[in-house]
């Protein structure tokens, strides 16, 4: 079809949307992997309901998967889709508000019948009543075309219809000049046990591809060239996968068994699922009866010398907080992962948020300090997991690692690290009965010795009552208590010794510093890039260490006229910065269960900046 033009694009954002049962998550991932394979940079954002399968066609049942793929380095799944694939009216209704004028809109016309329209709250069919005139609408009878394609395989109506997502995928593959081969292979593996289902899906896929090819309505296809990324071997990785691998790697580097105790909770459960698959690495997963049992077991395992980790989400942290205090008092090394979700209470379990920061910093009885780290991208979860373990064993302290639903489920390309290059993790155990004291301290780190049961002559008792300095015996002595409270605080403060100098992106001083933490990294970075292009004197600091803060942070904050702290909460990091540095930090706060859009941050910063120095 040489009549057809090929258009170059440097980045495209596609959102697949349909019923929970329509397989949109799968469709999105297949498209993502293919884009990754041909060398695009990618970023994804799956967004699904809390129900397993809300009733077919209903608004709460809509599940979406957004992917941005590009020929340049990108940091987010894109603000607004250039292309929306809507498998039914509900999917259209829910996603239309995000669609910019002129965007491509693909709908499965077969699904726009009375029943579904009513379920979605449409009086009339939007595809026909002209209400979509702002978009380039492609209305394709995906269901019937799919049914025709799989005819003769003797599938039941329902299973046959199920293949329509592959039809939609085929159409997209053609329009964006991707081959179906990788997906065909994937289907062959995946459906090895049910070959006829596999065959049906392959037919649907090819049917979609060929349909798009032969169809007249598409007068152009799009080309998104491979991105120039640092050379190396890449894979696509999600935050939860990266955390699981990070902990396995850390245990391997420390030469210890990995013990992971957890109680399932969205969006942290996948860490447990992933780790449970790796017994070969001597990973001992324990699915506890509740969150308290999970951290209790982890404290016991840490006492026994394992690399001990527990993972949960906000409500689970609330339940673990008493035991976290025990870990602080007994000064045992463990990592507590909080994959944050929308709160308060049960809140919005499948949505993302950053509102647990103050809980993990302050949410325990008594003076109960511990280090807090936050990962900033799916791949970064791997390195943050390793650093969390390093700090835990070096300072003999529980460490909190913050992730969030956006990082946990989102995926990005990851240059696979060479195992030989992984940092070593030195663990030393007390063995000498003569000099051993349970609460003696390392002069640099103030860490107490780690003495494992099984070591002759080091028999000792620890617990949650206040400890006598050095001996660790129970003590109610007033001066001793005051000393121990300050020692525990000082120990955590000293973690700052090992924090590398803070990296400042953009202007090293000037009008505005944007300070962020966690999963907002991508959106902030993209907005800062744009601001710098516009010539604004803006700097960016993204904090990985939230307690203690890096020692150079105060100086850096002082070098700018104004400080903006964008957060998916009501200003929790802002509160800590104001209290610590007494600076007039301003906030950009959104608590909608959704990540920031780049333009939200850009606009806020630009308005602050232009107020100061119009470019």
């Amino acid at each position: 079809m040489n009549r057809r033009i090929t258009e170059e694009r440097d980045a495209v954002t596609i959102r697949f949307a349909g019923d929970s049962g329509d397989g949109m998550q799968l469709t999105g991932s297949r498209f993502t992997d293919t884009a990754a394979l041909i060398g695009n940079d990618i970023a994804t954002f799956p967004d699904f309901p809390a129900e397993i399968r809300a009733p077919a066609g209903s608004l709460p049942g809509v599940s979406g998967f957004q992917v941005q793929f590009s020929s340049r380095d990108i940091h987010t799944p894109g603000d607004r889709p250039d292309v929306l694939v809507a498998m039914n009216p509900a999917a259209l209704k829910v996603n239309l508000r995000d669609l910019p004028e002129g965007a491509d809109l693909f709908v499965n016309s077969d699904a726009f019948a009375k029943g579904n329209l009513k379920l979605a709250g449409y009086e009339s069919n939007p595809v026909e009543d002209g209400s979509l005139s702002k978009y380039r609408v492609f209305s394709l009878p995906m269901t019937s075309l799919t049914l025709r394609a799989v005819e003769g395989l003797g599938l039941g109506q329902r299973s046959a219809e199920r293949c329509k997502n592959f039809f939609a995928l085929g159409v997209m593959f053609f329009l964006y000049e991707r081959s179906v081969d990788a997906t065909v292979q994937w289907i062959d593996q995946k459906f090895a046990k049910t070959p006829d289902l596999g065959e049906a899906n392959k037919r649907a896929l090819r049917a979609g591809y060929n349909y798009a090819d032969t169809l007249e309505i598409f007068n152009r296809t799009y080309r998104v060239r491979k991105a120039v990324l640092p050379a190396g071997e890449y894979r696509s990785v999600s935050g939860n996968e990266a955390l699981a691998m990070g902990f396995i790697a850390a245990a391997r580097q420390a030469g210890r068994t990995l013990f992971y105790g957890s109680y399932p909770i969205t969006p942290a459960s996948d860490i447990l699922h992933e780790l449970a698959r790796h017994r070969a690495f001597d990973v001992r997963t324990f699915q506890a009866e509740d969150e308290i049992a999970a951290i209790g077991a982890v404290i016991g395992a840490a006492f026994g010398g394992a690399i001990a980790v527990t993972g949960t989400s906000g409500p689970g942290i609330a339940l673990k907080s008493e035991a976290m205090g025990l870990a602080v008092m007994t000064e045992l090394p463990l990592v507590i992962v909080d994959v944050q979700r929308g709160g308060p209470s049960t809140g919005l379990p499948t949505k993302t948020e950053q509102a647990d920061l103050l809980q993990v910093v302050h949410g325990r009885n008594g003076e109960c300090p511990l280090p807090v780290l936050a990962a900033c991208s799916p791949a970064d979860c791997f390195h943050t997991a390793i650093e969390a373990v390093q700090i835990a064993v070096r300072y003999m302290t529980p460490v909190v690692l913050l992730s969030d639903g956006y990082l946990a489920n989102g995926a990005e390309p990851w240059r696979v690290p060479n195992v030989a290059d992984l940092p070593g993790i030195a663990v030393t155990f007390a063995t000498d009965p003569h000099e051993y004291q349970p609460y003696a301290r390392d002069p640099r780190t103030l860490a107490r010795p780690w003495a494992l049961p099984g070591t002759p002559g080091l028999e000792h008792r620890i617990g949650g009552l206040e400890k006598e300095d050095r001996t660790g015996n129970v003590s109610y002595d007033p001066e001793n208590h005051d000393r121990m409270v300050r020692l525990r605080a000082e120990k955590v403060a000293r973690v700052a010794q090992d924090i590398p100098p803070t990296e400042v992106v953009g202007a090293k001083s000037g009008d505005l510093l944007i300070v962020g933490w966690g999963g907002t990294y991508g959106a902030i970075t993209s907005s800062v890039e744009e601001l710098l292009v516009k010539g604004y004197a803006v700097g960016q600091v993204h904090l990985r260490h939230l307690n203690p803060f890096p020692s150079d942070l105060g100086d850096i904050l002082g070098r700018y006229k104004r400080v903006l702290v964008p957060e998916l909460n009501l200003g929790q990091l802002r509160l800590l910065l104001r209290a610590r540095y007494l600076i007039e930090a301003e906030g950009l706060n959104k608590v909608a269960g959704q990540p920031f859009r780049v333009d939200e941050i850009y606009r806020k910063a630009a308005s602050m900046l232009s107020a100061m120095q119009p470019v």
Partner: protein, 346 residues
């Protein structure tokens, strides 16, 4: 049986330890006359006979008077938080199966706030030895009723008498699918050490309830059947495979008609030795039936309620580990990091 998770025996040539070797340097801080002293003494007495090196022993407790126990044992110990001892013990045993892990808890610590962990740790059959000090009161917090306090008991928090039907720890343990369940009494210095030895020998979780007198807040809670003069008449020592007998001269016994139990005097109106119920410690239904015996209608049963085998949690876990590791090429970290699919960027 020697399994991978069997606790390592002591070096045979090492000098045998004495009970003193198990007393820590911390002064014991229970009230004078507290039943806890006697239990501590019995445990310290039995330890040397177990042939487990001291450094391989770990005592873990929650919070309560009873839970101060680990401080007084010269072994590894962990005085954790209220109700959670079972969870720490599970984590430690799973990470270090070669250790001999003991849990000491109370009726409040183990059955009130700790009830859920009790239930699940027992059903998992983690190879722990659990001793519950049941004084039917909260001692450390100065005398509120506990889940085992008798209905109507007047305490600080029930000035008009409790309105809560108590639970029976042995019964709950049976329903929690425990593989070894026993009961003894703080002052029974012959029976208690025997029970401690037996539970130590059991592979799998063993649960021992010990009636313990709190002479400050619930003095004499058990004296009506524990006191020396009446003990033999009002307590029955269960022995697996043996007919159920009791009495000063062992002249009485228990017979069962269907599920109805009765006390008989052997020899009197036709009751024969052969009619006596033979106790089967492998049958939870029998254990449950017998757990219903109570004074005054029946003697209070102590001894071994249940004793049978089921694979332990940690053995099954390690079996999965070995199984996975036996696969050729398993445990390749680089392979793991590369994942199912990669692509090269030149």
């Amino acid at each position: 049986m020697s399994t991978p998770t069997q606790t390592t025996p002591a070096d045979p040539n090492a000098p045998k330890l004495t009970r003193k070797d198990f007393a820590s340097d911390q002064e014991v801080r229970w009230c004078p006359g507290c039943g806890d002293y006697s239990i501590l003494a019995q445990v310290q007495k039995v330890m040397p006979d177990l042939g487990i090196p001291r450094e391989k022993l770990v005592f873990i407790s929650g919070i309560g008077c009873s839970s101060r126990f680990p401080y007084y044992m010269n072994t590894y110990g962990f005085h954790s938080i209220h109700g959670r001892a079972m969870t720490l013990a599970t984590g430690l045993k799973t990470a270090r199966p070669e250790l001999s892990v003991w849990v000491v808890t109370g009726d409040g610590d183990g059955l009130s706030i700790g009830g859920n962990h009790f239930l699940h740790t027992l059903r998992r059959n983690v190879d722990l030895n659990v001793i519950l000090f049941n004084n039917r009161i909260y001692g450390l917090t100065k005398g509120q009723y506990s889940p085992t306090s008798v209905l109507g008991q007047v305490t600080k928090s029930s000035p008009l008498g409790t309105i809560e039907h108590p639970i029976n720890p042995v019964r709950v343990a049976i329903a929690a699918e425990a593989t070894w369940v026993g009961r003894s009494v703080d002052v029974d210095t012959k029976h208690l050490p025997e029970m401690i030895r037996k539970m130590a020998d059991h592979k799998g979780l063993s649960f021992l309830e010990v009636y313990q007198n709190c002479n400050i807040f619930n003095d004499g809670a058990f004296e009506h059947f524990v006191d020396k003069p009446v003990r033999s008449e009002r307590m029955l020592y269960l022995e697996p495979g043996k007919p159920m007998r009791f009495g000063a001269n062992n002249e009485k016994g228990i017979v069962a008609n269907g599920l109805k139990l009765a006390v008989v005097s052997v020899g009197e109106n036709g009751a024969r030795e052969a009619d006596l119920l033979v106790y089967d410690a492998t049958d939870p239904a029998m254990a449950y039936l017998i757990s219903q015996m109570d004074y005054p209608d029946f003697p209070v049963p102590v001894g071994v309620f249940l004793d049978f085998q089921r694979e332990t949690y940690e053995d099954m876990l390690l079996a999965q580990v070995r199984q996975a590791q036996s696969k050729p090429g398993s445990g390749d970290l680089q392979k793991l990091l590369r994942g199912p699919q990669t692509w090269l960027v030149e």
